[in-house]
């Protein structure tokens, strides 16, 4: 969490994540350059710099496709959540891989041109009115610029400097970068030659990503639409029954049109907090209580159940909500309390406690 900013706060999970990623990159490039020419005669007929350019170009596209699939996959199946943890290193490596591709392009395609390489890149093809002959390189440049901006602003310093809503909005431009890469590949390599593998990677990847994102989006929208039942005394809502929450877990409720609220059960008490993590808006209610702290499933930021504050020296805070029990029904006032308000956990009466042994629901929506 943010106390002071270090370039990267390393831990074992991040090291393993990065090691696996770097090994994957190394193996891909090795296989492409060693095995590629053996399998594909078209690749054998090209020079090494072009092979390298293609190896890094296709790897950048593969990595961009994977990094964009992680988000919706984690929403659809919790087993993918660990991939989210260090997604930003994945994104930065994608930008570096794409830049390496562009470096080989510049070094080869334009190295014999009388004009400087960068000038040649922008002036050698000016068929702006042609469709199939459009200078596809420009789409690559556009995508690379976006990837570079995102890589530079990926650090938590920028997240808190720009505030999460602005930062998230900027980072959503990665989707436009992806669209530009698809056009870059279609107008460039796919028109140029029949490359089945590349067609599969670009067009198959596009179809997969669209389906994943739209499925994940639909689920979230229907969860939002199924707001909690209204309690007799408005604006309170009934979020569920005590027996639905396992120890250390939460259920999620919300008022019509409101933000989601997570009700955690821990050590015989209930606490209601905002479901939105102050780090990157992760779904706190899908996390659990770890040594007394509500812990976000995405990157592990922690909050005290009673006041929603991170333990010192950290300063993150999330909102708290008022809670009431009616029998075993849990009622929440969807009006948030001011940040930092302390509300002691609501004690669960002893006769309701045994039900916790057989929770019906792990706490997800």
């Amino acid at each position: 969490m943010s106390l002071s900013y270090k370039p990267v706060i390393w831990n074992k999970t991040k090291l393993i994540y990065d090691a696996v990623m770097l090994a994957g990159i190394f193996i891909y490039i090795l296989i492409f350059l060693r095995l590629g020419p053996v399998i594909s005669s078209a690749l054998r007929d090209t020079d090494l710099p072009i092979q390298r350019m293609r190896a890094f170009g296709s790897l950048a596209l593969l990595m961009l496709t994977i990094v964009l699939a992680i988000g919706p996959l984690a929403r659809i199946d919790a087993r993918f959540v660990p991939l989210l943890y260090n997604r930003r290193h994945f994104g930065v490596m994608t930008a570096i891989t794409a830049a390496t591709h562009a470096y080989y392009v510049l070094g080869w395609y334009f190295s014999f041109s009388p004009t400087p390489q960068l000038t040649a890149l922008f002036t050698s093809n000016t068929s702006f009115t042609s469709i199939a002959g459009f200078p596809f390189e420009l789409f690559g440049v556009f995508a690379l610029v976006i990837l570079a901006i995102l890589a530079v602003t990926s650090h938590d310093f920028w997240l808190s400097f720009l505030t999460p809503p602005v930062w998230k909005a900027i980072h959503m431009s990665v989707y436009f970068a992806y669209a530009a890469v698809i056009l870059h590949v279609a107008l460039g390599a796919l028109i140029d030659r029949r490359d089945l593998a590349l067609a599969f990677l670009s067009l198959g990847g596009l179809a997969t990503l669209c389906v994943l994102h739209l499925i994940a989006g639909r689920r979230e929208t229907s969860a939002d639409a199924a707001a909690s039942k209204k309690a007799p005394e408005a604006p309170w809502v009934i979020v569920g029954d005590v027996s639905e929450i396992a120890e250390g877990r939460a259920i999620i409720g919300m008022a019509q049109g409101g933000e989601r609220i997570a009700v955690f059960r821990s050590k015989g008490g209930l606490s209601a907090v905002s479901n939105i993590c102050s780090h990157q808006n992760g779904p706190i209610g899908e996390g659990k209580v770890v040594i007394g702290f509500i812990t976000c499933p995405w990157h592990g930021y922690q909050y005290r159940p009673e006041d929603g504050c991170s333990p010192p020296p950290f300063r993150e805070r999330i909102r708290k909500y008022r809670l009431r029990l009616e029998g075993s029904s849990i009622l929440v006032d969807p009006e948030p309390l001011p940040l930092g308000t302390k509300v002691e956990p609501l004690a669960i009466l002893a006769e309701l406690s045994p039900a916790a042994a057989a929770p019906k629901n792990g706490g997800t929506v």
């Binding site: 959503m172 279609a186 739209l214 979230e220 939002d224 479901n275 939105i276």
Partner: protein, 54 residues
């Protein structure tokens, strides 16, 4: 805040899912084809009738 974010997501991905395939179809459909009487042996595989030489 999250609701707006989700709505933006849905709009963007619906847009990509509709617009990019249409653009791809237009692109591939507009690739110049070799005329039926093109010579069998050519120096370049893609240049066709009507392509302007610089």
């Amino acid at each position: 805040m999250q609701r707006r974010h989700r709505r933006a997501h849905t709009v963007i991905w619906t847009g990509i899912a509709v617009v990019i395939p249409i653009m791809l179809i237009v692109i591939f459909a507009s690739v110049p084809k070799l005329p039926a009487d093109a010579p069998a042996v050519r120096l370049d595989a893609t240049a066709t009738q009507g392509d302007k030489q610089p």
